[in-house]
Amino acid sequence: MSHLPSIPAQDPKGDKGMIENTTRSRREFLKVAGGVVAAAGAIAYVPAWGGKVLRPEAAVAADGAPDLYLAGTDGWMSLPPGPPIGFFWPDDIAPEPFNTYIFGFRNITGMTPTQKANQKNKAQHSAPLFWLDQFDPNNPVDFRVQVTNLGLALRPDLFDAHTLHWHGFRNVIPFFDGEPSGSVSVPTGRDFTYVYRPRDPGTYMYHCHVEDVEHVHMGMTGLVFVRPLQDGNTSFYSSGKYMYNDGDGSTGFDREFAMFLSEVWAESHWADSHIQLPEWSDYRADFSLLNGRSYPDTIAPNAPIDAGASQHALAVGTDPNGELVAPDGRPDLQYQPHSSLVTCNAGERVALRFANLGFREQAMTLAGLQMRVVGRDATHMRGRDGTDTSYETDTINIGPGESYDVIFTAPAHSGGTGPDTYMLYNRNYTRSGNLDDSGFGGQQTEIHVYPTGSVAAQQYPNDWGI
C-alpha cells in the first residue's frame, strides 16, 4: 500500500541548470543491465534512459493570487483586403472595420470585475503571449493562471466551456491539462486556476481544448515559453539571456521574437457566426497568420505595451473600460496586438521562437541568413550523451503542434541610411499570399538589421526597440 517515492540523494553538480536528476547513475545501470550488455557483446554503451526525473518540491507561494488572468470569449478581427471567398469572407455581419469572426483569449490581469465583464465579445488573436521562469528549487514558486469563461456573445446557444491546455507540458496531471474528457473544464461565468511548475525551458504553445477542432481553429491559441535557470549568468554570453541551460552560451541571444503560426479557413469562421457547422474534412487554409496577422499587417507596430506590467505576459494598453488600445494608426488591428517585425543591430544574436497551431505543416524560410536550430519541442538539441544535434538551415518545416527554437546572427550593415531588410516567409507559397494579385501576404514578415547601436535594448519579447 505504501507509495513513498524515495528519491536518491543527488549531486547538484554546481550547475543551476542541472536540477533535473538522472535516476540511474552509470554504475547503477551497469549493475542492472550489465548481463544483457555482456551477452550482446558489441552493442554501444550509453547510460540507460531513466529520463530526466524531478525532485518534488513544496512551493512556498502556493496560495498566492494568480500570476495571470485570461478570459475566453468571442470577437472580431481584421485580415487584409483581397478577393471575396464565396459568401464566407469578408463576413457580412462583421462590424466595421473587422471582417472575421473569432474565439480567443484576453489578458484581464488587474481588471475590475466590471472591466472584465466588458471584455465579452472582445477576444484577441493570437492569444496573449506569456512566459515563465523555469521552476527554481531554491526559490520554489508556482505559476498560476486563472481562466474565466466570459461566454460567446454572438453564439449564446453554444454555452461552450473553455480550458487552458499547455501543449507539451511534461508529466502534467489531467486536472491541469485542460483536456476536458480527462478532468474538468470551465463553464460560462466561472473561473478555474491552473498551476504550473515549468521544469523544462523552451517554446510551447497553449490553447483551449474544449471542442478543440473548432476552438483552436477559431483562434483560442497562443505561444508560451519558459526561460532557463541559466538566465542572468553573463559568463557564457554577455546578455545573460539564453534559450536553454546550455552551459556554454550556444543558446545565448540579444533579442527574442515569438513567431506564432495559425490559419483561417474562411468557411468555418463564417459558419460559427451564422450558426452553421462546417465539414472539417473539407478544411483549407485561406489565410495563414503570424502572431495573428497576415502580411503586410505583420510588420505593423505592436499595440501599446505597458513594459513595466509585462513581467510574465504582454500587457497591452487598455482604456478605462478595459478595451484594448489599437496599434498606432491601425484601428482595424485592435484585436491583433502582436507585431512580427524583427528589428536588431548588426552583429546581434536574435532568437526566434516558432510554434504552429495551424492544421498544416508550414515551411518558414529566412532568405539570406542561416538559422541554427537549438531546440525543438522545448528540448535542447542534445543527445542523452551530450552530443550536439543542433543544425543550420534556411527553412523550418514545422508541423501542427511543433515548436522550433532558432538563433541567427545579424550580419554587418551594408552602409547607407535605413535598415537592411531580410524576408522571413512561408515557402509553401499558397500560404504566403492573401489570394490577391500581389502574390505576397500570409505568413511573412521582415527582418530589419540596423547599424550597430541603433536599436535600443528589448523591454519585452517582440519589442522593436525603436
Binding site: 500500500m1 505504501s2 507509495h3 517515492p5 524515495s6 536518491p8 543491465a33 544483457v36 550488455v37 552493442i43 554501444a44 554503451y45 550509453v46 540507460a48 534512459w49 531513466g50 529520463g51 526525473v53 524531478l54 518534488p56 518540491e57 513544496a58 512551493a59 502556493a62 496560495d63 501543449h167 511534461r170 508529466n171 502534467v172 496531471i173 489531467p174 486536472f175 491539462d177 483536456e179 476536458p180 474528457s181 480527462g182 478532468s183 474538468v184 470551465v186 466561472r190 473561473d191 486556476t193 498551476v195 511548475r197 478543440d212 477542432v213 479557413w265 472539417w280 474534412s281 492544421f359 525543438r376 519541442d377 522545448a378 528540448t379 542523452r384 544535434t389 508541423g399 503542434g401 511543433e402
Partner: protein
Amino acid sequence: MTRDTYTMERNIHMRAGYALLVVLALVLATVLSVNGATPASAQTLAADRVGIVCTDGPSFTLTTKTGYISLPDANTMFMWGFSSGSDSFQHPGPVLCVNQGDTVTVVLNNTLPEPVSIMFPGQENVLANGVPAQPEFDGGALTSLTNTAAANGGTVTYSFVASEPGTYLYESGTDPETQVRMGLFGALIVRPTVGSNFAYNRADSQFDPSEEFMVLLSEIDPFQHQAVEQGKPFNMNTYHPRYWLINGRGFPDSIADNFASWLPTQPYGALAQIQEFDPANLADMPGMARYLNVGTEDFPFHPHGNNGLVVGRDGRPLEGPTGQDLSFEKFAINIGPGQTWDVIFKWFDAESYNGDEFLPDGVTPNSDYNPVPVTIPDMANQVIGVFYSGSPYLGKSEVLPTGTPTLNQCGEYYIISHNHALFQITSWGANMTGPITYMRIDPPLPNTCTP
C-alpha cells in the same frame, strides 16, 4: 475552501477510503484462496486487453480477404485486408513479430480478383519464390513494384533475413494507390538480438514489455472504397480522405480492448495503459510506442503530458557513426507517409500531486505529498469530463453530482494523445472522433481496478 480546510477534510475522507481498500483486498484474497484459484498477474491481464498483439514468426501465411469495418459515424466501410492463414477478414493486417537474424518467410495467398503483392520497405535482399524479388513489367510498363500472386488463387512466397531490428511496414506493391488505401498493409516488428524488451541493440533502448503499444495511422476516402466495392473506376485526382484511423479504428473505438466483441474485424486497440514511472525502482523501465504512417501526408501525433524520446526511425537507431546518441524528445511526433518512429515514453508524478491517500497510518504528510495548490471549485461550477474520477489525485475518486456519468474505475488518469492536424479529428462529419487515443495511468498496485 481554503487549502488548510480542504486538506483536513480530505485526510478524513482518505483514511476511510484506505480502510475500505484494505477490507476489499482482504475479501478478494479470501475469495481467491477459497476457490483455490491463482490470481493472474495484472501484467498478463493488461497484456491481453491492451498493447501489441503479435503474430509470431518467422513463417507466416497471409491471405487476402474482403470485409467491412465499423467507423465512429456508424458508417461501415468495404475493405481489403491481409489475414493470417485461414483467419477471417481483419483490419489492419496481422502484426508480424520476428527476431533479428530470423529468415522470415511470408506465403501470400491471393483471393482477390486482381494480382496482389507485398513490399517489405526497409528489408534487403528480399526473395520471391527463391529468387531476388523484382518489379513486374508488361511490355515495358510497370505493373507492380514486386512479384505478384495472380488473381483468384495465385500464390507467391517471399523470404528475407530480418537483419536490422525495428518497426517496419508491409504493404501491397501492386496498384498501391488502390490496394494500400483499401487496407492491404500491416506492421512488422523485428526484435533485437539483445532481447525483446529492447527497441534496438542499445542498452539505452530498453523498455517495459508490458507497456509496448502500436500507433498505426491510416486514412480512408469513402468514395474510393465504394467504387472498388461496386467494381467502378475511381479517379485518384478526386481522392479526399474523410476518415483517419489508429490501428484500424477511430475514437472512441480506438480505446476499446483488443478483440472487442463489437469490433469483430478490427482486433487492435490503441489504449496505452501504463503504471506511473517509479524513479526509485531501478528495474522500472519506460513504455514504448511504435508509430507507423500508411497515409498520404504527415500526421503530427501529439501525446499530452509526455515528451516521447524518439530512439529510432524506419528501423534504424538514431545514433552517430561511433554510437553517439542522436535521439531526441518530441511532444509532436510528426511522422511522414511510409515512415515508422520508435518512441520511448513514460509518465512520472513529478510534483507528487498524489495527495496523501497512500500514506500508512501514523506517517505525517511531508513535502513529498503535495496537495494540488488551488481551491477547487464546487462540482457545480465545473464541467465534468467522462473519464474524470472526481479527484485531481491518482488513485482517488470522489462522488460526482447526481446524473454525471463517468467511465473512471479506480481513480486512474486518462491523458489524451491525438493527431494535431485537427481537421482530421472527424469521421466525415462526426466531430471529435477519429485519430484520438489515451494514455491510461493506473494507480500504484494494488488498486481497485486490479486485485
